[in-house]
């Protein structure tokens, strides 16, 4: 064994990880080579330094989100929610004119009584989106692709006038279900975070009756569940659920953009 053979093994030799035969060969070379002995000492010192490296544990909030992801992957989809055979994606839609921006001011009251079912449904739907093998069938490629796609697939026309921007790019959309009805599902991004927007007919659901915050002409209810923030509101017969793990202020900002009329 010469220096060229020995040197790549010195780190493992210093960590006592070589098998006996190979360790013996390295030891024999070291006996005769002062340069490699010096390098071994350096490798040994480096192993000592590396052994001091701390291993910071995952923060509790991250662990909670990971557990939610895993739980969603374990949970079979409800029968009524047979996987959207027509899992098609719309792309950006609605250009619509940007009008006066509504200032969204959302307070954070405790989850209103009766809101639990809708909140759970919204979080579950968000988790299905982020854990889906094919969360997007058709990526957002332009605002003119969307509205025509919805025609005939939903019994309602989702009114969303925000087609994404640099802060909240629109990734795509698909058909989904919310409780017992079809829903338009839009996926936005905030850096690496996924944000899910569900739009569905609002009638016949147990909407939150607790405190809400006036946002322009709308009332928005905000709750949190399993590490995710959920914003719920109604507008002209349609229900809206916005779900993500982003900072709540970011979610409020997106809600404001979505509410622009």
């Amino acid at each position: 064994m010469d220096c060229r053979d020995a040197r790549p093994l010195l780190g493992a030799h210093a960590a006592d990880r070589l098998e006996p035969v190979r360790a013996g060969e390295v030891a024999a070379h070291l006996h005769a080579c002062a340069d490699c002995r010096r390098l071994l000492a350096a490798e040994d010192a480096l192993n000592g330094a590396l052994s001091q490296l701390p291993r910071p544990p995952a923060p509790a909030r991250l662990t909670a989100r990971l557990e939610s992801l895993v739980a969603a992957a374990e949970r079979p989809a409800p029968a009524r929610r047979e996987r959207p055979r027509l899992a098609i994606w719309l792309a950006p839609f609605v250009s619509a004119c940007a009008a006066a921006a509504l200032v969204v001011v959302v307070t954070r009251p405790p989850a209103p009584a009766g809101a639990g079912a809708l909140v759970n449904e919204a979080v579950n739907d968000h988790l299905r989106v982020v854990t889906s093998t094919h969360p997007i069938e058709i990526e957002s490629g332009g605002i003119h692709q969307v509205k025509p796609w919805f025609t005939g697939k939903l019994e309602f026309a989702p009114r969303v006038t925000f087609s994404g921007d640099d802060e909240f790019p629109l990734v795509g959309g698909s058909l989904g279900y919310f409780v017992d009805r079809k829903a338009a599902v839009f996926q936005f991004k905030r850096r690496l975070h996924t944000i899910t927007l569900l739009v569905f007919p609002a009638g016949g659901l147990g909407w939150p009756g607790g405190a809400t915050t006036r946002v322009g002409r709308l009332e928005i209810s905000e709750t949190s569940s399993r590490g995710f923030s959920v914003l719920l509101w109604r507008d002209e017969g349609l229900g809206y659920a916005l779900v993500s793990d982003v900072n709540v202020h970011d979610l409020e900002l997106l809600a404001g953009k979505i509410n622009q009329m």
Partner: protein, 190 residues
């Protein structure tokens, strides 16, 4: 059934046994097993991104991808598979285009620098965790990753898969990366 033995291809003796997830594991079981590696994945992600909030994003995105592609897991070391997803996700999202240049840096290595005197060696021996963290931060992603994979006890075959290189080049790349780290450490402590 004989216990799983992890034997390095270059004559390294077996290292700490890691649980092996059999081929055909369903997504639910896989997800639970992945949670057991969340801390390790976060520690690796933190050393890639250097920022806790980015590390959290990276781990969450990696778990999402892992759960979404559970069917693609071919059995073997689940932790190594998760680390590969973390690294690929990091490169996809943060470092696209830079990986190739860094790989070339390690490929160019043809000799390992030696220390010139005992003062430098003494300095290295006095390194504390803060020093080694700072020196690691200065390394390229590839050099950092291969050192961290070695610390995790991955076999050469696993490291080769993780790094996307031939098994036969892992030893030399690792030696070169460690030499670079020693140099950074010396610079930092000088």
């Amino acid at each position: 059934m004989a216990p799983h033995v992890r034997r390095n291809d270059a004559g390294l003796r077996p290292v700490e046994p890691l649980p092996v997830i059999p081929l055909g594991t369903d997504g639910a079981s896989l997800g639970r097993a992945l949670l057991g590696h969340a801390d390790a994945a976060y520690a690796y992600a933190l050393r890639l991104t250097r920022k806790p909030s980015d590390a959290e994003d990276l781990v969450q995105e990696s778990f999402t991808r892992a759960l979404g592609s559970a069917a693609g897991f071919r059995g073997g070391n689940l932790k190594a598979w998760l680390f590969q997803i973390v690294r690929n996700t990091y490169i996809d999202l943060h470092h696209r285009g830079a990986g190739r240049a860094q790989a070339e840096l390690l490929e160019l290595a043809d000799d390992t620098p030696l220390f010139q005197d005992d003062i430098e060696l003494d300095r290295l021996r006095r390194a504390v965790a803060q020093d080694i963290e700072a020196a690691l931060r200065d390394l390229s992603e590839e050099a950092r990753s291969i050192i961290l994979f070695d610390l995790e006890g991955f076999t050469e075959t696993e490291v080769a898969t993780l790094m996307g290189c031939a098994v036969g080049t892992v030893k030399s790349r690792l030696a070169r990366a460690r030499a670079l780290l020693r140099g950074k450490l010396q610079d930092y402590m000088r």
